[in-house]
Subunit: 216 residues, 2 copies
């Protein structure tokens, strides 16, 4: 029943590069952030590939995928940068970035001021579009998740809203030693939140550091 999330960020604190587009949904340089995961066997398995390493990175990827009964997501993550996807009235032909079989396989609650009909995808993913506060959206997601956890899928603004509302029980930050220089930051305005958490850091041979925050 915990609310948790996992994010990857550059050493200078960016979760995505500048100028996200249909071709580069993570912005310029943003995909480099996630190389650590692409090399992990758990990520390859999940995405229909094979190979990869079975070390701490892979174990972390696997832990992040397990035990999730519902997701929360900001509208900008569902369609940011796409006309009729990221803001304003919907272009209802936009069904997310992930094709007809998205990697969620559970209900996903997309926060938006423009509700639309739910989208039932293949593989168990159902996108629900709700105009709700973080508290209200979390209640909906918890009901859908049953005994399992709720995970925030992103993006940064949504993650920040839930952190500010003090609703997050566990967060996992992957710190990647690259410098993007510009882009989307998570942290601004969150000073001192570490005091609410027990913090651990574990480095990986891939060069990333996994920093976990567990609610005290």
């Amino acid at each position: 029943m915990a609310l948790r999330f996992s994010i990857t960020m550059s050493l200078d604190g960016y979760m995505a590069g500048p100028n996200p587009s249909r071709d580069e949904p993570l912005g310029k340089g943003g995909e480099d952030l996630h190389q650590w995961a692409f090399q992990a066997s758990a990520w390859q398995e999940e995405h229909g590939g094979s190979g990869g390493t079975e070390g701490v990175d892979s174990q972390v990827v696997r832990a992040n995928l397990e035990g999730i009964g519902a997701y929360l997501m900001g509208r900008n993550m569902f369609g940011g940068g796409i006309p009729g996807g990221g803001e304003g009235e919907w272009d209802e032909s936009w069904r997310g970035w992930w094709g007809e079989n998205p990697p969620y396989h559970v209900p996903v609650f997309v926060l938006t001021h423009h509700p639309r009909e739910s989208l039932e995808m293949e593989g168990g993913t159902v996108f629900h579009f709700v105009d709700a506060s973080p508290h209200e959206a979390l209640d909906l997601a918890r009901q859908a998740a049953g005994d399992l956890d709720v995970r925030i899928g992103g993006g940064p603004a949504t993650v920040r809203d839930f952190l500010v509302a003090d609703l997050v029980d566990f967060l996992h930050v992957v710190q990647v030693p690259i410098l993007l220089g510009r882009g989307v930051r998570l942290w601004d305005g969150l000073e001192g939140i570490e005091e609410r958490f027990a913090v651990e850091t574990v480095s990986s041979p891939s060069g990333v550091a996994h920093v976990t925050f567990t609610r005290r």
Copy 2:
């Protein structure tokens, strides 16, 4: 003969908190950044204390202190926030933050547009005040250092100037899992510099991650 430096920063990328003053030279919250070092036995030894732990943090502190023949330092680090210390004409009664026996014990070249007479302190530290470009200042420091390395003592603007000029051979970043929210950032405008370095990350039980950049 390498040029190197070591800095500590918060998870949100700040090297010091906001509003540095005579009482809080590292700004609000800035001293929290350095708890990892205060707990290390090498730091305690260096500062006349005792005790502390002898793990990776202490080994890193010791390595950072060894083999240094000269320091480079920005004027703001020498006297920032002090009237007549940090900018403009000098108040020559200001002799730095560190008392009469500063923890350098070698020549320290302070970059300033307002040269003044050198200050010979106790314990081998001599502050030289030079109006020079990064290249010129490094030449001076290298001559003084002989076969030993030159270390940049700080602060952020000076570190950045030397990184931009591509003069740095080794940098050590201590990433501390706290969020300062505001303050002095190092990274802005340095995107992609990791490509010039081999990067390694090692975590410590203290919760910090040591990220090292070694010139390729």
